[in-house]
Symmetry: C2
Protein backbone atom coordinates (compact mmCIF):
# COMPACT_ATOMS: atom_id res chain seq x y z
CA UNK A 1 0.00 0.00 0.00
CA UNK A 2 1.37 3.37 -0.99
CA UNK A 3 0.95 6.55 1.05
CA UNK A 4 -0.48 8.14 -2.07
CA UNK A 5 -3.41 5.72 -1.87
CA UNK A 6 -4.44 7.19 1.46
CA UNK A 7 -3.22 7.48 5.05
CA UNK A 8 -4.19 8.75 8.47
CA UNK A 9 -2.75 12.04 9.75
CA UNK A 10 -2.61 12.21 13.57
CA UNK A 11 -2.09 15.37 15.61
CA UNK A 12 -1.36 13.68 18.92
CA UNK A 13 -0.93 16.09 21.77
CA UNK A 14 -0.44 15.90 25.51
CA UNK A 15 -4.11 15.72 26.43
CA UNK A 16 -5.96 15.33 23.11
CA UNK A 17 -5.58 13.66 19.75
CA UNK A 18 -7.15 14.36 16.37
CA UNK A 19 -6.89 11.88 13.53
CA UNK A 20 -7.90 12.51 9.91
CA UNK A 21 -8.36 9.93 7.14
CA UNK A 22 -6.84 11.35 3.96
CA UNK A 23 -7.88 9.95 0.57
CA UNK A 24 -5.81 9.48 -2.61
CA UNK A 25 -6.57 13.03 -3.64
CA UNK A 26 -5.21 14.47 -0.39
CA UNK A 27 -8.66 15.33 0.94
CA UNK A 28 -9.80 14.71 4.50
CA UNK A 29 -12.76 12.34 4.32
CA UNK A 30 -13.27 11.54 8.00
CA UNK A 31 -11.93 12.74 11.37
CA UNK A 32 -12.04 11.70 14.99
CA UNK A 33 -11.11 13.65 18.09
CA UNK A 34 -10.85 12.38 21.65
CA UNK A 35 -9.06 13.05 24.91
CA UNK A 36 -6.68 10.07 24.58
CA UNK A 37 -3.63 12.32 24.60
CA UNK A 38 -0.09 11.09 25.16
CA UNK A 39 -0.42 11.29 28.95
CA UNK A 40 -3.35 8.85 28.93
CA UNK A 41 -1.41 6.12 27.08
CA UNK A 42 0.28 3.63 29.44
CA UNK A 43 3.92 2.62 28.89
CA UNK A 44 4.12 0.32 25.88
CA UNK A 45 0.54 1.18 24.93
CA UNK A 46 1.16 3.18 21.75
CA UNK A 47 0.86 0.30 19.22
CA UNK A 48 -2.56 -0.56 20.67
CA UNK A 49 -3.58 3.12 20.78
CA UNK A 50 -2.56 3.44 17.11
CA UNK A 51 -4.59 0.37 16.14
CA UNK A 52 -7.56 1.88 17.91
CA UNK A 53 -7.28 4.79 15.47
CA UNK A 54 -7.10 2.35 12.53
CA UNK A 55 -10.16 0.50 13.83
CA UNK A 56 -12.08 3.75 13.59
CA UNK A 57 -10.67 5.27 10.39
CA UNK A 58 -9.33 2.34 8.34
CA UNK A 59 -6.28 0.08 8.12
CA UNK A 60 -3.93 2.70 6.73
CA UNK A 61 -0.43 4.03 7.39
CA UNK A 62 -0.15 6.64 10.16
CA UNK A 63 1.73 9.93 9.91
CA UNK A 64 1.92 11.50 13.36
CA UNK A 65 3.05 14.77 14.90
CA UNK A 66 2.98 16.40 18.31
CA UNK A 67 3.88 15.20 21.79
CA UNK A 68 3.65 11.59 20.55
CA UNK A 69 7.27 12.28 19.53
CA UNK A 70 8.33 13.60 22.96
CA UNK A 71 10.00 11.95 25.95
CA UNK A 72 6.52 11.06 27.13
CA UNK A 73 5.41 9.73 23.76
CA UNK A 74 5.85 6.62 21.58
CA UNK A 75 9.51 7.29 20.87
CA UNK A 76 11.50 10.49 21.21
CA UNK A 77 11.68 11.93 17.71
CA UNK A 78 14.60 14.27 17.04
CA UNK A 79 14.37 18.04 16.82
CA UNK A 80 15.35 19.79 13.60
CA UNK A 81 17.19 23.03 14.27
CA UNK A 82 15.73 26.27 12.85
CA UNK A 83 15.68 27.73 10.27
CA UNK A 84 13.79 24.79 8.78
CA UNK A 85 11.07 24.12 6.25
CA UNK A 86 8.95 21.22 5.07
CA UNK A 87 11.81 19.68 3.07
CA UNK A 88 13.86 19.35 6.27
CA UNK A 89 11.17 17.27 8.01
CA UNK A 90 10.29 14.55 5.45
CA UNK A 91 13.71 12.85 5.42
CA UNK A 92 13.93 12.81 9.23
CA UNK A 93 10.83 10.88 10.24
CA UNK A 94 11.07 8.44 13.15
CA UNK A 95 9.61 5.13 11.96
CA UNK A 96 7.86 3.31 14.80
CA UNK A 97 6.29 0.68 12.46
CA UNK A 98 8.47 0.22 9.35
CA UNK A 99 6.71 1.77 6.36
CA UNK A 100 3.43 1.92 8.33
CA UNK A 101 3.76 4.50 11.08
CA UNK A 102 6.06 7.49 11.38
CA UNK A 103 6.49 10.49 13.68
CA UNK A 104 7.40 13.87 12.22
CA UNK A 105 10.37 15.57 13.98
CA UNK A 106 9.92 18.71 16.05
CA UNK A 107 11.78 22.00 15.72
CA UNK A 108 14.29 23.55 18.10
CA UNK A 109 16.12 26.80 18.68
CA UNK A 110 19.22 27.19 20.83
CA UNK A 111 21.03 30.49 20.44
CA UNK A 112 21.89 33.65 22.36
CA UNK A 113 20.89 32.13 25.69
CA UNK A 114 17.46 31.27 24.35
CA UNK A 115 16.18 27.75 24.02
CA UNK A 116 12.85 26.61 22.64
CA UNK A 117 11.16 23.53 21.21
CA UNK A 118 8.01 22.83 19.19
CA UNK A 119 6.17 19.63 18.26
CA UNK A 120 3.14 19.54 15.98
CA UNK A 121 2.44 23.21 15.35
CA UNK A 122 5.15 23.33 12.67
CA UNK A 123 3.18 20.84 10.52
CA UNK A 124 0.18 23.17 10.61
CA UNK A 125 2.26 26.19 9.69
CA UNK A 126 4.14 24.55 6.83
CA UNK A 127 0.83 23.09 5.66
CA UNK A 128 -0.88 26.46 5.67
CA UNK A 129 1.93 27.93 3.57
CA UNK A 130 1.90 24.91 1.19
CA UNK A 131 -1.87 25.20 0.76
CA UNK A 132 -1.73 28.95 0.15
CA UNK A 133 -3.79 29.69 3.26
CA UNK A 134 -1.15 32.12 4.52
CA UNK A 135 1.75 33.96 2.88
CA UNK A 136 5.21 32.32 2.81
CA UNK A 137 6.51 35.23 4.88
CA UNK A 138 4.34 35.95 7.90
CA UNK A 139 4.10 36.04 11.70
CA UNK A 140 1.97 33.42 13.40
CA UNK A 141 0.45 33.06 16.86
CA UNK A 142 -0.53 29.47 17.68
CA UNK A 143 -2.43 29.32 20.98
CA UNK A 144 -2.75 26.09 22.94
CA UNK A 145 -1.42 24.65 26.18
CA UNK A 146 1.84 26.30 25.13
CA UNK A 147 1.32 29.25 22.81
CA UNK A 148 3.88 29.64 20.02
CA UNK A 149 4.89 32.92 18.35
CA UNK A 150 6.50 32.01 15.04
CA UNK A 151 8.34 34.03 12.40
CA UNK A 152 8.08 32.45 8.94
CA UNK A 153 10.36 33.77 6.23
CA UNK A 154 9.95 32.54 2.67
CA UNK A 155 8.44 29.25 3.86
CA UNK A 156 11.07 28.66 6.57
CA UNK A 157 10.44 28.90 10.29
CA UNK A 158 13.29 31.17 11.32
CA UNK A 159 12.43 32.02 14.92
CA UNK A 160 9.85 31.14 17.54
CA UNK A 161 9.05 31.57 21.18
CA UNK A 162 6.79 29.59 23.50
CA UNK A 163 4.65 31.07 26.27
CA UNK A 164 3.03 28.77 28.85
CA UNK A 165 -0.26 30.67 28.87
CA UNK A 166 -2.73 27.80 28.47
CA UNK A 167 -1.01 25.60 31.02
CA UNK A 168 -0.83 28.47 33.51
CA UNK A 169 -4.54 29.27 33.13
CA UNK A 170 -5.39 25.60 33.52
CA UNK A 171 -3.26 25.27 36.68
CA UNK A 172 -4.78 28.40 38.21
CA UNK A 173 -8.29 27.08 37.55
CA UNK A 174 -7.59 23.67 39.04
CA UNK A 175 -5.79 24.57 42.26
CA UNK A 176 -4.52 27.39 44.35
CA UNK A 177 -6.00 30.50 45.86
CA UNK A 178 -7.70 31.76 42.66
CA UNK A 179 -9.32 28.46 41.66
CA UNK A 180 -12.60 29.09 43.47
CA UNK A 181 -12.99 32.38 41.57
CA UNK A 182 -12.25 30.98 38.10
CA UNK A 183 -15.26 28.77 37.57
CA UNK A 184 -16.76 30.65 34.58
CA UNK A 185 -15.63 30.17 30.99
CA UNK A 186 -13.30 32.89 29.69
CA UNK A 187 -15.02 35.10 27.12
CA UNK A 188 -13.70 38.02 25.03
CA UNK A 189 -15.81 40.47 27.05
CA UNK A 190 -15.05 43.78 28.79
CA UNK A 191 -13.33 42.05 31.73
CA UNK A 192 -11.16 40.11 29.28
CA UNK A 193 -10.17 43.30 27.46
CA UNK A 194 -9.36 45.05 30.75
CA UNK A 195 -7.17 42.09 31.71
CA UNK A 196 -5.47 42.06 28.32
CA UNK A 197 -4.68 45.78 28.57
CA UNK A 198 -3.23 45.24 32.02
CA UNK A 199 -1.32 42.12 30.94
CA UNK A 200 0.26 43.94 28.01
CA UNK A 201 1.82 46.42 30.42
CA UNK A 202 2.28 44.21 33.48
CA UNK A 203 5.62 44.14 35.21
CA UNK A 204 4.95 40.74 36.77
CA UNK A 205 2.07 38.38 36.21
CA UNK A 206 2.57 36.81 39.63
CA UNK A 207 1.72 40.18 41.18
CA UNK A 208 -1.25 40.94 38.89
CA UNK A 209 -2.75 37.50 39.53
CA UNK A 210 -2.99 37.92 43.30
CA UNK A 211 -4.60 41.30 42.81
CA UNK A 212 -7.55 39.53 41.15
CA UNK A 213 -8.33 37.78 44.40
CA UNK A 214 -8.05 41.02 46.34
CA UNK A 215 -10.34 42.87 43.89
CA UNK A 216 -13.03 40.21 44.22
CA UNK A 217 -12.73 40.07 48.03
CA UNK A 218 -12.90 43.85 48.32
CA UNK A 219 -15.88 44.12 45.95
CA UNK A 220 -13.91 45.83 43.18
CA UNK A 221 -14.61 43.05 40.62
CA UNK A 222 -17.59 40.70 40.21
CA UNK A 223 -16.58 37.10 40.90
CA UNK A 224 -18.12 36.10 37.55
CA UNK A 225 -15.63 38.34 35.70
CA UNK A 226 -12.51 36.84 37.27
CA UNK A 227 -12.00 34.03 34.72
CA UNK A 228 -12.26 36.33 31.71
CA UNK A 229 -10.03 38.92 33.41
CA UNK A 230 -7.34 36.36 34.29
CA UNK A 231 -7.50 34.91 30.79
CA UNK A 232 -7.04 38.43 29.42
CA UNK A 233 -4.16 39.09 31.81
CA UNK A 234 -2.28 35.96 30.74
CA UNK A 235 -2.98 36.43 27.04
CA UNK A 236 -2.09 40.13 27.26
CA UNK A 237 1.30 39.29 28.80
CA UNK A 238 1.71 36.59 26.16
CA UNK A 239 0.98 39.14 23.44
CA UNK A 240 3.57 41.46 24.98
CA UNK A 241 6.18 38.78 24.30
CA UNK A 242 4.88 38.04 20.82
CA UNK A 243 4.68 41.63 19.62
CA UNK A 244 8.31 42.04 20.66
CA UNK A 245 9.23 39.39 18.09
CA UNK A 246 6.79 40.37 15.35
CA UNK A 247 8.18 41.52 12.03
CA UNK A 248 4.71 42.17 10.62
CA UNK A 249 1.84 44.18 12.05
CA UNK A 250 -0.65 41.67 10.63
CA UNK A 251 -0.75 38.56 12.78
CA UNK A 252 -2.04 35.17 11.75
CA UNK A 253 -3.70 33.30 14.61
CA UNK A 254 -3.84 29.58 13.96
CA UNK A 255 -5.44 26.88 16.06
CA UNK A 256 -8.76 25.99 17.64
CA UNK A 257 -11.54 28.52 17.30
CA UNK A 258 -12.26 28.86 21.01
CA UNK A 259 -8.67 29.98 21.59
CA UNK A 260 -8.01 31.95 18.41
CA UNK A 261 -11.01 34.21 19.13
CA UNK A 262 -9.59 35.12 22.55
CA UNK A 263 -6.17 35.91 21.06
CA UNK A 264 -7.84 37.89 18.27
CA UNK A 265 -9.67 39.97 20.89
CA UNK A 266 -6.42 40.64 22.77
CA UNK A 267 -4.66 41.52 19.52
CA UNK A 268 -7.33 44.14 18.89
CA UNK A 269 -6.71 45.61 22.37
CA UNK A 270 -3.04 45.91 21.40
CA UNK A 271 -4.03 47.76 18.23
CA UNK A 272 -2.93 45.04 15.80
CA UNK A 273 -4.92 43.26 13.13
CA UNK A 274 -5.29 39.50 13.14
CA UNK A 275 -6.61 36.76 10.86
CA UNK A 276 -7.81 33.44 12.27
CA UNK A 277 -6.90 30.16 10.51
CA UNK A 278 -8.32 26.77 11.48
CA UNK A 279 -5.51 24.57 12.78
CA UNK A 280 -7.02 21.26 11.67
CA UNK A 281 -7.27 22.31 8.03
CA UNK A 282 -3.66 23.48 8.14
CA UNK A 283 -2.52 20.25 9.82
CA UNK A 284 -4.07 18.10 7.10
CA UNK A 285 -2.37 20.20 4.43
CA UNK A 286 1.00 19.78 6.15
CA UNK A 287 0.62 16.04 6.60
CA UNK A 288 -0.39 15.62 2.95
CA UNK A 289 2.67 17.57 1.83
CA UNK A 290 4.96 15.33 3.89
CA UNK A 291 3.22 12.10 2.82
CA UNK A 292 3.88 13.02 -0.80
CA UNK A 293 7.60 12.67 -0.09
CA UNK A 294 7.23 9.08 1.16
CA UNK A 295 6.45 6.78 -1.76
CA UNK B 1 -8.32 34.51 83.56
CA UNK B 2 -6.66 37.61 82.18
CA UNK B 3 -4.70 37.76 78.92
CA UNK B 4 -1.84 39.23 80.92
CA UNK B 5 -1.56 35.94 82.82
CA UNK B 6 -0.69 34.12 79.60
CA UNK B 7 -2.25 33.16 76.26
CA UNK B 8 -1.57 31.25 73.08
CA UNK B 9 -0.61 33.14 69.90
CA UNK B 10 -1.56 31.25 66.73
CA UNK B 11 -0.26 32.03 63.25
CA UNK B 12 -2.77 29.91 61.31
CA UNK B 13 -2.11 29.84 57.60
CA UNK B 14 -3.54 28.06 54.60
CA UNK B 15 -1.39 24.93 54.88
CA UNK B 16 0.44 25.26 58.21
CA UNK B 17 -0.12 26.56 61.72
CA UNK B 18 2.27 27.64 64.43
CA UNK B 19 1.12 28.16 68.01
CA UNK B 20 3.15 29.72 70.81
CA UNK B 21 2.40 29.67 74.53
CA UNK B 22 3.14 33.11 75.94
CA UNK B 23 3.75 33.54 79.68
CA UNK B 24 2.84 36.47 81.99
CA UNK B 25 6.08 38.24 81.06
CA UNK B 26 5.30 38.09 77.33
CA UNK B 27 7.91 35.41 76.68
CA UNK B 28 7.34 32.40 74.43
CA UNK B 29 7.76 29.31 76.61
CA UNK B 30 6.61 26.57 74.22
CA UNK B 31 5.68 26.26 70.53
CA UNK B 32 4.13 23.73 68.21
CA UNK B 33 4.05 23.64 64.45
CA UNK B 34 2.10 21.28 62.20
CA UNK B 35 0.50 21.06 58.77
CA UNK B 36 -3.07 21.46 60.06
CA UNK B 37 -3.60 24.64 58.08
CA UNK B 38 -6.99 26.17 57.40
CA UNK B 39 -7.59 23.99 54.34
CA UNK B 40 -7.28 20.81 56.41
CA UNK B 41 -10.00 21.84 58.87
CA UNK B 42 -13.47 20.52 57.91
CA UNK B 43 -16.51 22.87 57.99
CA UNK B 44 -17.45 23.52 61.61
CA UNK B 45 -14.19 21.97 62.79
CA UNK B 46 -12.43 25.07 64.09
CA UNK B 47 -13.56 24.85 67.75
CA UNK B 48 -12.19 21.29 67.92
CA UNK B 49 -9.00 22.29 66.11
CA UNK B 50 -8.54 25.14 68.61
CA UNK B 51 -9.04 22.80 71.56
CA UNK B 52 -6.42 20.50 70.05
CA UNK B 53 -3.99 23.42 70.36
CA UNK B 54 -5.04 23.96 74.02
CA UNK B 55 -4.57 20.24 74.72
CA UNK B 56 -0.96 20.63 73.63
CA UNK B 57 -0.07 24.06 75.02
CA UNK B 58 -2.46 24.67 77.94
CA UNK B 59 -6.04 25.82 78.57
CA UNK B 60 -5.49 29.46 77.68
CA UNK B 61 -7.11 32.16 75.55
CA UNK B 62 -6.20 32.12 71.86
CA UNK B 63 -5.15 35.12 69.81
CA UNK B 64 -5.07 34.14 66.14
CA UNK B 65 -3.98 35.68 62.86
CA UNK B 66 -3.68 34.56 59.24
CA UNK B 67 -6.01 32.72 56.90
CA UNK B 68 -8.01 31.50 59.89
CA UNK B 69 -9.75 34.87 59.43
CA UNK B 70 -10.43 34.39 55.70
CA UNK B 71 -13.46 33.14 53.78
CA UNK B 72 -12.02 29.65 54.19
CA UNK B 73 -11.30 30.08 57.90
CA UNK B 74 -13.18 30.05 61.21
CA UNK B 75 -15.03 33.30 60.51
CA UNK B 76 -14.28 36.02 58.02
CA UNK B 77 -12.51 38.73 60.00
CA UNK B 78 -12.71 42.23 58.51
CA UNK B 79 -9.91 44.02 56.71
CA UNK B 80 -8.56 47.28 58.10
CA UNK B 81 -7.74 49.74 55.34
CA UNK B 82 -4.16 51.05 55.09
CA UNK B 83 -2.47 53.14 56.37
CA UNK B 84 -2.84 51.22 59.63
CA UNK B 85 -0.81 50.39 62.71
CA UNK B 86 -1.06 48.16 65.76
CA UNK B 87 -3.56 50.46 67.48
CA UNK B 88 -5.98 49.99 64.59
CA UNK B 89 -6.03 46.20 64.98
CA UNK B 90 -6.66 45.67 68.72
CA UNK B 91 -10.13 47.24 68.82
CA UNK B 92 -11.29 45.30 65.73
CA UNK B 93 -10.75 41.69 66.76
CA UNK B 94 -13.33 39.09 65.68
CA UNK B 95 -14.33 37.14 68.79
CA UNK B 96 -15.12 33.53 67.94
CA UNK B 97 -15.26 32.45 71.63
CA UNK B 98 -16.27 35.42 73.83
CA UNK B 99 -13.27 36.56 75.84
CA UNK B 100 -11.43 33.31 75.00
CA UNK B 101 -10.56 33.28 71.31
CA UNK B 102 -10.15 36.14 68.87
CA UNK B 103 -8.94 36.64 65.30
CA UNK B 104 -6.87 39.69 64.40
CA UNK B 105 -8.18 41.61 61.33
CA UNK B 106 -6.23 41.69 58.08
CA UNK B 107 -5.16 44.73 56.09
CA UNK B 108 -6.39 45.92 52.71
CA UNK B 109 -5.54 48.42 50.01
CA UNK B 110 -7.92 49.58 47.30
CA UNK B 111 -6.78 52.62 45.36
CA UNK B 112 -5.68 53.70 41.89
CA UNK B 113 -6.88 50.46 40.31
CA UNK B 114 -4.80 48.42 42.73
CA UNK B 115 -6.29 46.02 45.22
CA UNK B 116 -4.46 43.93 47.77
CA UNK B 117 -5.07 42.06 51.01
CA UNK B 118 -2.89 40.64 53.80
CA UNK B 119 -3.61 38.36 56.74
CA UNK B 120 -1.05 37.46 59.37
CA UNK B 121 2.12 39.07 58.07
CA UNK B 122 1.05 42.45 59.48
CA UNK B 123 1.21 41.05 63.03
CA UNK B 124 4.83 40.04 62.46
CA UNK B 125 5.73 43.44 61.04
CA UNK B 126 4.06 45.49 63.76
CA UNK B 127 5.60 43.13 66.31
CA UNK B 128 9.08 43.58 64.90
CA UNK B 129 8.71 47.36 65.09
CA UNK B 130 7.27 47.19 68.63
CA UNK B 131 10.12 44.95 69.78
CA UNK B 132 12.76 47.18 68.19
CA UNK B 133 13.88 44.42 65.80
CA UNK B 134 13.44 46.74 62.82
CA UNK B 135 13.15 50.51 62.41
CA UNK B 136 9.71 52.15 62.50
CA UNK B 137 10.28 53.33 58.94
CA UNK B 138 11.47 50.54 56.66
CA UNK B 139 10.74 48.37 53.63
CA UNK B 140 9.96 44.71 54.21
CA UNK B 141 9.87 41.63 52.02
CA UNK B 142 7.86 38.77 53.54
CA UNK B 143 8.21 35.59 51.47
CA UNK B 144 5.71 32.77 51.74
CA UNK B 145 2.99 31.23 49.59
CA UNK B 146 2.18 34.83 48.71
CA UNK B 147 5.15 37.15 49.09
CA UNK B 148 4.40 40.63 50.47
CA UNK B 149 6.36 43.81 49.79
CA UNK B 150 5.49 46.27 52.53
CA UNK B 151 6.31 49.93 53.09
CA UNK B 152 6.27 50.88 56.79
CA UNK B 153 6.32 54.55 57.68
CA UNK B 154 6.65 55.60 61.29
CA UNK B 155 5.13 52.34 62.50
CA UNK B 156 2.24 52.39 60.00
CA UNK B 157 1.89 50.05 57.03
CA UNK B 158 1.25 52.58 54.27
CA UNK B 159 1.50 50.44 51.13
CA UNK B 160 1.99 46.82 50.16
CA UNK B 161 1.91 44.48 47.19
CA UNK B 162 1.49 40.72 46.99
CA UNK B 163 3.26 38.44 44.50
CA UNK B 164 2.12 34.81 44.10
CA UNK B 165 5.66 33.44 43.89
CA UNK B 166 5.46 30.59 46.37
CA UNK B 167 2.13 29.33 45.10
CA UNK B 168 3.35 29.47 41.50
CA UNK B 169 6.51 27.51 42.31
CA UNK B 170 4.47 24.96 44.20
CA UNK B 171 2.00 24.53 41.32
CA UNK B 172 4.80 24.15 38.78
CA UNK B 173 6.44 21.46 40.91
CA UNK B 174 3.25 19.50 41.39
CA UNK B 175 1.82 19.42 37.88
CA UNK B 176 2.36 20.50 34.34
CA UNK B 177 5.13 20.15 31.83
CA UNK B 178 7.96 21.33 34.13
CA UNK B 179 7.04 19.17 37.14
CA UNK B 180 9.26 16.22 36.18
CA UNK B 181 12.27 18.57 36.02
CA UNK B 182 11.67 20.31 39.36
CA UNK B 183 12.34 17.46 41.76
CA UNK B 184 15.40 18.97 43.50
CA UNK B 185 15.22 21.47 46.35
CA UNK B 186 15.83 25.08 45.31
CA UNK B 187 19.19 26.35 46.61
CA UNK B 188 20.81 29.80 46.37
CA UNK B 189 23.43 28.42 43.95
CA UNK B 190 24.75 29.60 40.58
CA UNK B 191 21.65 28.34 38.72
CA UNK B 192 19.46 30.25 41.19
CA UNK B 193 21.45 33.45 40.65
CA UNK B 194 21.28 33.05 36.87
CA UNK B 195 17.50 32.61 37.16
CA UNK B 196 17.19 35.63 39.45
CA UNK B 197 19.15 37.81 37.03
CA UNK B 198 16.90 36.67 34.19
CA UNK B 199 13.74 37.09 36.27
CA UNK B 200 14.67 40.64 37.23
CA UNK B 201 14.70 41.60 33.55
CA UNK B 202 12.09 39.18 32.19
CA UNK B 203 9.33 40.49 30.00
CA UNK B 204 7.04 37.55 30.76
CA UNK B 205 7.52 34.74 33.21
CA UNK B 206 5.23 32.48 31.22
CA UNK B 207 7.74 32.64 28.37
CA UNK B 208 10.86 32.22 30.52
CA UNK B 209 9.36 29.20 32.26
CA UNK B 210 8.84 27.18 29.10
CA UNK B 211 12.39 27.96 28.05
CA UNK B 212 13.61 25.99 31.09
CA UNK B 213 12.10 22.83 29.64
CA UNK B 214 13.65 23.51 26.26
CA UNK B 215 17.10 24.17 27.78
CA UNK B 216 17.02 20.86 29.66
CA UNK B 217 15.74 18.91 26.62
CA UNK B 218 18.40 20.44 24.38
CA UNK B 219 21.21 19.82 26.88
CA UNK B 220 21.74 23.50 27.67
CA UNK B 221 20.96 23.10 31.40
CA UNK B 222 21.47 20.15 33.76
CA UNK B 223 18.13 18.74 34.90
CA UNK B 224 19.34 19.03 38.52
CA UNK B 225 19.66 22.82 38.15
CA UNK B 226 16.10 23.39 36.93
CA UNK B 227 14.46 23.79 40.35
CA UNK B 228 16.99 26.37 41.57
CA UNK B 229 16.83 28.21 38.24
CA UNK B 230 13.02 28.35 38.25
CA UNK B 231 13.01 29.46 41.88
CA UNK B 232 15.48 32.21 40.93
CA UNK B 233 13.37 33.20 37.94
CA UNK B 234 10.20 33.58 40.01
CA UNK B 235 11.95 35.33 42.90
CA UNK B 236 13.82 37.61 40.50
CA UNK B 237 10.56 38.70 38.86
CA UNK B 238 9.08 39.14 42.34
CA UNK B 239 12.03 41.32 43.31
CA UNK B 240 11.48 43.39 40.16
CA UNK B 241 8.02 44.27 41.51
CA UNK B 242 9.28 44.92 45.03
CA UNK B 243 12.20 47.15 44.08
CA UNK B 244 9.75 49.29 42.12
CA UNK B 245 7.95 50.05 45.38
CA UNK B 246 10.98 50.31 47.66
CA UNK B 247 11.66 53.63 49.35
CA UNK B 248 14.83 52.30 51.00
CA UNK B 249 17.80 50.50 49.48
CA UNK B 250 18.11 48.36 52.62
CA UNK B 251 15.50 45.64 52.61
CA UNK B 252 14.31 43.66 55.59
CA UNK B 253 13.43 40.08 54.74
CA UNK B 254 11.12 38.55 57.31
CA UNK B 255 9.82 35.01 57.49
CA UNK B 256 11.07 31.45 57.56
CA UNK B 257 14.78 30.93 57.16
CA UNK B 258 14.57 28.57 54.18
CA UNK B 259 12.75 31.28 52.20
CA UNK B 260 14.46 34.40 53.51
CA UNK B 261 17.88 33.04 52.46
CA UNK B 262 16.66 32.59 48.87
CA UNK B 263 15.27 36.13 48.78
CA UNK B 264 18.47 37.46 50.36
CA UNK B 265 20.50 35.78 47.59
CA UNK B 266 18.25 37.31 44.90
CA UNK B 267 18.50 40.70 46.59
CA UNK B 268 22.28 40.48 46.34
CA UNK B 269 21.98 39.71 42.60
CA UNK B 270 19.94 42.91 42.29
CA UNK B 271 22.68 44.86 44.08
CA UNK B 272 20.67 45.62 47.22
CA UNK B 273 21.47 44.83 50.83
CA UNK B 274 19.14 42.77 52.96
CA UNK B 275 18.73 41.78 56.60
CA UNK B 276 16.90 38.60 57.56
CA UNK B 277 14.48 38.60 60.52
CA UNK B 278 12.87 35.47 61.95
CA UNK B 279 9.12 35.63 61.39
CA UNK B 280 8.14 33.60 64.45
CA UNK B 281 9.96 35.90 66.86
CA UNK B 282 8.29 38.89 65.23
CA UNK B 283 4.86 37.22 65.36
CA UNK B 284 5.12 36.58 69.09
CA UNK B 285 6.11 40.22 69.66
CA UNK B 286 3.09 41.41 67.66
CA UNK B 287 0.65 39.10 69.43
CA UNK B 288 1.98 40.17 72.85
CA UNK B 289 1.53 43.84 71.91
CA UNK B 290 -2.10 43.22 70.90
CA UNK B 291 -2.87 41.03 73.95
CA UNK B 292 -1.76 43.90 76.18
CA UNK B 293 -4.72 45.90 74.87
CA UNK B 294 -7.25 43.24 75.88
CA UNK B 295 -7.57 43.16 79.69
Amino acid sequence: MRWADGFIAVDWGTTNRRAHRIDHAGACVSSIEDDLGVLSVPPGGFPAAANDIRDKLGDLPLLMAGMVGSTRGWVEAPYVSCPADLDDLGPRLSWVEPGRAAIIPGLSILADGRADVMRGEEVQMFGAVAAGLIPATCFICHPGTHNKWVAVDNGKIVDFRTVMTGEMFDMLRKRGILAEMLTEEAKPDAAFREGAQRGLNASALTAELFSVRARVLLGDMPRASAASYVSGLLIGADLGVGLGLARQSDIIIMGRGELTRLYAAATAVAGCSAREIDGSTAFVAGAVAIARMLD
